[in-house]
Symmetry: C2
Subunit: 425 residues, 2 copies
Amino acid sequence: MSDAAYTAMWENLNLDISAHDGLLEVLGKFYGDIYLSQQNRLKGMEYLDFVLSEVHGLRVKELQDAKAAGKKVIGTFCVFVPEELTLAADAVHVGLCSGADAGTEEAEKLVPRNTCALIKSFIGFKLARLCPYTESCDLIVGETTCDGKKKAYEAFSNHVSMHVMEVPQTKTADAKALFKAEVLRHKEALKALTGTEITLENLQKSITIVNEKRKALQRLSRLRAADPAPISGRDALLINQVSFYDDPVRFTQSINTLCDQIEERIEKKEGVVPAGTKRLLVSGCPMAVPNWKLPYVMESSNAVIVGEESCIGSRNVRDLVDETPDTLDGLIDALVDRYMKIDCACFTPNNERMSNVETMAKELNADGVIHYALSFCQPYAHEAIKLNNVLSAKGIPMLSIETDYSMEDVEQLKTRVEAFVEMLD
Amino acid sequence: MSDAAYTAMWENLNLDISAHDGLLEVLGKFYGDIYLSQQNRLKGMEYLDFVLSEVHGLRVKELQDAKAAGKKVIGTFCVFVPEELTLAADAVHVGLCSGADAGTEEAEKLVPRNTCALIKSFIGFKLARLCPYTESCDLIVGETTCDGKKKAYEAFSNHVSMHVMEVPQTKTADAKALFKAEVLRHKEALKALTGTEITLENLQKSITIVNEKRKALQRLSRLRAADPAPISGRDALLINQVSFYDDPVRFTQSINTLCDQIEERIEKKEGVVPAGTKRLLVSGCPMAVPNWKLPYVMESSNAVIVGEESCIGSRNVRDLVDETPDTLDGLIDALVDRYMKIDCACFTPNNERMSNVETMAKELNADGVIHYALSFCQPYAHEAIKLNNVLSAKGIPMLSIETDYSMEDVEQLKTRVEAFVEMLD
């Protein structure tokens, strides 16, 4: 589409065109510096480069086309909102988490200053009219995974159409029953919005689609165990980020093609960095587009990232939904079981996560773990301390980082990460 | 009891005697400055002065006597843990929230620095061996009311014997069902600990005891509508603080005696301050002993506090349990109904609180509201913004304060509160 046609589309979405132009310019430059400057990238990353270059263009146009054809667009901020239900209701599912400071001053009128950058960002993007995804949504689905989001949705819901799912805080049978009730309530909300009843047939189909996406991402994750690392952590993170808003079938196909290329590369013992480069697992809070600061710092510090233990990473990919039940209720139960396996810090206790990090570090041959918590994210800040104790006892080095979206601490982070990587020798 | 006997008791409880002596000295001085210096206090406050002067003495001795007689001591941090169940199980119920900085450095090894002062305080008191209540507990019952406490209990439970109740985040029927399941699970935990089965009879009796306590505190609250204010906010806060650890029957009797005196005073149009003194409602986070900083600042700024919209105040007192059900299950349902009415910021939405604050401000003839949030308490910081919008629309002035337990900001707070009170003219 022409620039003028895109601008017309953004105008229709009521974006602040001049601020949005500025945002795209900064984003383009940032992407060039952090992504396009990389050596030895895989051919298959061209698809991701294209998707990102069209992040507010082609994909948004697809959403408008879908809406024109009568489909609804569902926005989410969390891996607990089942994409399977959205797809079964013949709607489009997009992640709305934002990874850049925007509209912060306006956002701080709705939520306290001491709120994490991710929350302030999605509110700021809305208030500053900078996000075509948010503006395309017919319904935004929140969840009660942390105090910050839970309370922010109350203010946010004055600005967008919202439905909030309660995610319980333990994994008892009674807590699972509550989550099932919430899944059923959400299913009814989707039916009311889309007019499409979720049935055994359409849910089976959508579960398969999302399982296939997760399997492709699992395959990618497994291949990263190779030394030399066949793909950079930045690229792998980008893939996980794009998985939240791209068309799932097309995305799965692209990732499987990319994985074929990675297998060839591994066969030839080729990589993005020399064999023996220090290998890091990054663990903790989600990194939404374009929050590439810490991965860039890590991979500019004589290290390569081999895994993301994060919502935008393993937490969204590890578990599949059982496809075998042959009743709708059985399939809903399978869905609930899968989502209640997520090792989010919102649960107490969340010992699964401790062993999952350890397992990932071992399977991916990581030399150390860098824990990443967004400032004011209490659940992950608490678990950073716990995880450090667990990993220490197992002889796995860990560095704990707390930061936000500003660029002010880049040099300080680089000093700390470099010192940590040197210590791994 | 003699000083030596108390010291021996504290030694038996493994307190750090020299640090504990220092704490009592500071507390005594602080109490003298903030409480005993007040003019026109009610005779009935002598009981509270006595209870507080013996806060780590006589009441702790009573706990040891109860334990020697085979009773168990249950510690809590939250108004969601039903005292009725503790008493029905023939155990002693004590609040463990702490309102002073202690052992902060040690606490910050267990929980992040960006954790609210109340949480760091109860952990610090434990690690520094300064709290005879914590040391007397056979079981400490936590709850999932905020991210900070929920995750802190994971670390804390390595140091004390804990049981955690899940409190849901909405008030749907399914959320209430989860809370009922948690109440039943807690009931079984109490039986396992105490050997006492909770029955219709003992639960009816304990519900009456706790209802009577709440009725006495409701009576006190109502009487504070009078002008001139018959009791200071500091004294009323102290009463609410003591309600969390004193013997409930004795306490109720004392408060009713005090209320008789207040009625006489009102009859004579006497008060602790001149009629027409500006009247403030304080609203927000709990103020645990000896967190008297903000009330002292407020009442040193030409104003009097007429109500505490707080867990240590209206949130613990407003609702009674229906005593009429004649089956154990019916009584448990009544208990669940009562606790699920609490207008805690842990719920989303929590619109009840907004109207409760407005109602309190009107009924108590408050000229303005001071919202108090502990730094890093996300739920109340978010609601401060919402409440300010609601009260503004109703023409009720509100000042939003965020602070912790340090004394560094006293002068700054005083400046802000004085300016707010002046503005009320």
